[in-house]
Amino acid sequence: MTPSRVAVLLLAICAVAGWQVSVIPESAIQMAVGPDMVPAVVVLLMSIVSVFYAFSAFRGQQRDEASEEEHSALPGSQLRMATLLLGGVIFIVLVPVSGFVIPATLCGMCIARSFDAPLNLRSALICGSVALAFWVLFAKILLIGLGPASPFGL
């Protein structure tokens, strides 16, 4: 990822947003400001500032932490980020079938792994305790619906 790629991403978002504005249906209600006017103005504003950003990014004038020695990434950055995101995917896939605690534990283990903690029993126990503690606090004490804790419906 570089500022130039961020600029391309922004312009792509503007294009998609512009298309979405064009498909907003006309309102049957007669009013000074229809449903598409403000979105159109916002997309126009975003397009203008994105073009300015693109110009300065292509000229190398935009900031990237990766280029600063103190903040740059150590080797393995892509793998660490992918591991963290994998934790989210595991949670999303498993939570409808296996309750809250197991997916949250596996997700926590992936996140800990992305911060270089080993994938072992200790990690499973710590993340499992955290997941269970939050489930008890929110679902049992504060009565906020988190679904069952386990696939057995506890």
């Binding site: 900031r63 996140i111 270089d116």
Partner: protein, 501 residues
């Protein structure tokens, strides 16, 4: 006198055991999030928004206020003992506080920060008590056109002042506005930016966006860097927590001056806590009889900025309660909490929900006392929190983030969105885009659009209504000035060396 009577009624409500308990929980949680890196008051309040379905409004806002104040208190601990500010507003405290800790005076640094926070927090709350009702009187004259212009000013100010670049601030703002318009347009019933997804018809929840950008985004950024695998080296808690007579005499004026900087600047759009802490630091350095100690551990350099930081927290609440305009990310999240209770913010709040407002203000006084009592005796606990290894800390933060998002309707779609916003947060963090404009845009977009439509309905479609009404025109004028000031200043600064040659 009316304010005093109302405040007394507020105290009678705030001192009930249930409200006190929520206040205590808020102060405790707030101090904890202030101490821990990676968590902040905006994120914490966003995570707790699902509680609004179960807890009465008064208790909830007392807790939120406790979290907000508590985070301002707690940030000093990491700055002093770790040289790693938990909050951006505590960066200045680290300059002198950590130097004091290194020279064996950590106890005194923590003490002046805690007592200064108490003094300034109380002064700020006093100002809120007596100025807010006056501001409400003025705000009652605001029509939809003035509200629209005020929101434009707040949005422009946040984008122009926060962060290092106006361009990146405006991109963040427009992204926030775009996200804020996702869902069904309430006036016409038309779908906007939904891509045909029924899950997007109700719009994007503030919790998902705030938690994704702040918590998941920060975790992704730190994982990308790979430099946070071990805890930072912690200073030993050295020196007595009792301040000497000399420490007191060097601190008290700095506390008061800090409060005088903090409250008014905190009440301004995008004023925040960073600017007053910086101003306080340089003022203390200028006025000190021991300027040579600055940079080596001057107690005034901790006392003033910490006081400014806490007074600004009271300042931020003023436009939120009187005008319904958030001037920081935390206030924006609190505004969405008002919305989830169906409470109309703005000047009417003082008449329609007078009990809630005055209980909240009374709880700020009580919260300051709780925080003073909590901070110093529990310093050992806060220090132990700092020793949690980052892998377990961030695993816990993300698990609680998922809990906060998933609990609102058990939606895995929202959990997916959480990680999408996490990626957006990562890109923003890495490429230096400010996050608050996104949240402010998200929350204020529908409100601003509604005010604009109301103003145009009243003026029978005349767009000139925004510039022919003096107050509205003035607010838009200030917004325009803020927009052009930074580029003009930069252009002028770039020309300076050439002119002198």
């Amino acid at each position: 006198m009316e304010a005093l009577d109302a405040l007394l009624i507020g105290f009678s409500s705030a001192l009930t055991p249930t409200t006190l308990m929520w206040g205590f929980i808020g102060c405790f949680v707030g101090t904890m999030v202030g101490v821990l890196p990676g968590l902040g008051p905006a994120l914490t309040i966003a995570l707790l928004l699902p509680l609004t379905y179960h807890v009465p409004a008064t208790s909830m806002f007392v807790m939120f206020a406790g979290i907000y104040y508590g985070a301002a208190y707690g940030g000093a601990t990491t700055s002093i003992l770790l040289n790693t500010p938990g909050e951006t507003s505590s960066v200045i405290t680290a300059l002198e506080g950590n130097k004091m800790a290194r020279s064996g005076r950590a106890g005194q640094a923590l003490a002046t920060a805690a007592i200064g926070s108490f003094v300034a927090g109380t002064l700020g709350t006093l100002a809120l008590t007596f100025i807010a009702p006056e501001l409400v009187e003025i705000a009652l004259a605001f029509g939809p056109a003035e509200y629209f212009s005020l929101m434009v000013l707040a949005l422009v100010a946040v984008s122009a002042v926060l962060g290092n670049s106006l361009l990146r601030g405006l991109i963040a703002l427009s992204l926030g506005l775009l996200i804020g318009m996702v869902g069904i347009d309430l006036q016409t019933g038309q779908m906007r930016f939904t891509f045909g997804q029924p899950q997007l018809l109700d719009g994007i929840e503030i919790t998902v966006a705030a938690v994704g950008i702040f918590a998941v985004g920060e975790a992704l950024f730190l994982a990308w860097q790979g430099r946070s695998s071990t805890p930072s080296s912690l200073m030993k808690l050295s020196g007595s927590l009792w301040m000497s007579a000399r420490d007191w005499s060097r601190s008290w004026k700095a506390w008061i001056r800090g409060a005088l900087f903090g409250f008014p600047i905190g009440a301004m759009p995008a004023g925040g806590a960073e600017l007053p802490t910086l101003l306080s630091y340089y003022t203390e350095k200028k006025l000190s009889k021991h300027p040579e100690e600055f940079g080596k551990g001057a107690i005034e350099g901790v006392a003033g900025p910490e006081a400014a930081n806490n007074a600004s927290a009271a300042g931020v609440l003023m436009p939120l309660l009187t005008l319904g305009i958030p001037t920081s990310a935390t206030a924006a999240v609190m505004l969405s909490a008002f919305e989830s209770y169906g409470i109309q913010t703005g000047p009417q709040l003082f008449s329609t929900n007078s009990a809630l407002v005055w209980t909240l203000i009374a709880s700020l006084y009580i919260g300051n006392v709780i925080l003073l009592l909590l901070n110093l005796p529990l310093i050992g606990l806060w220090v132990r929190l700092l020793k949690i290894p980052p892998p377990w800390l961030y695993a816990s933060i993300i698990i609680v983030s998922i809990v906060g998002v998933y609990s609102a309707g058990n939606s895995v779609f929202n959990v997916g969105l959480l990680f999408v916003f996490g990626l957006i947060g990562y890109v923003m963090r890495r490429f230096d885009f400010p996050a608050p404009p996104v949240l402010m845009g998200l929350i204020l977009a529908p409100l601003a659009e509604q005010s604009m439509r109301q103003a145009l309905t009243i003026s029978q479609g005349q767009w000139t209504t925004f510039v022919t009404r003096p107050l509205s025109a003035s607010l838009l004028g200030i917004a325009l000035l803020l927009l052009i000031a930074q580029p003009v200043y930069r252009h002028w600064r770039n020309r300076q060396p050439k002119a002198t040659l």
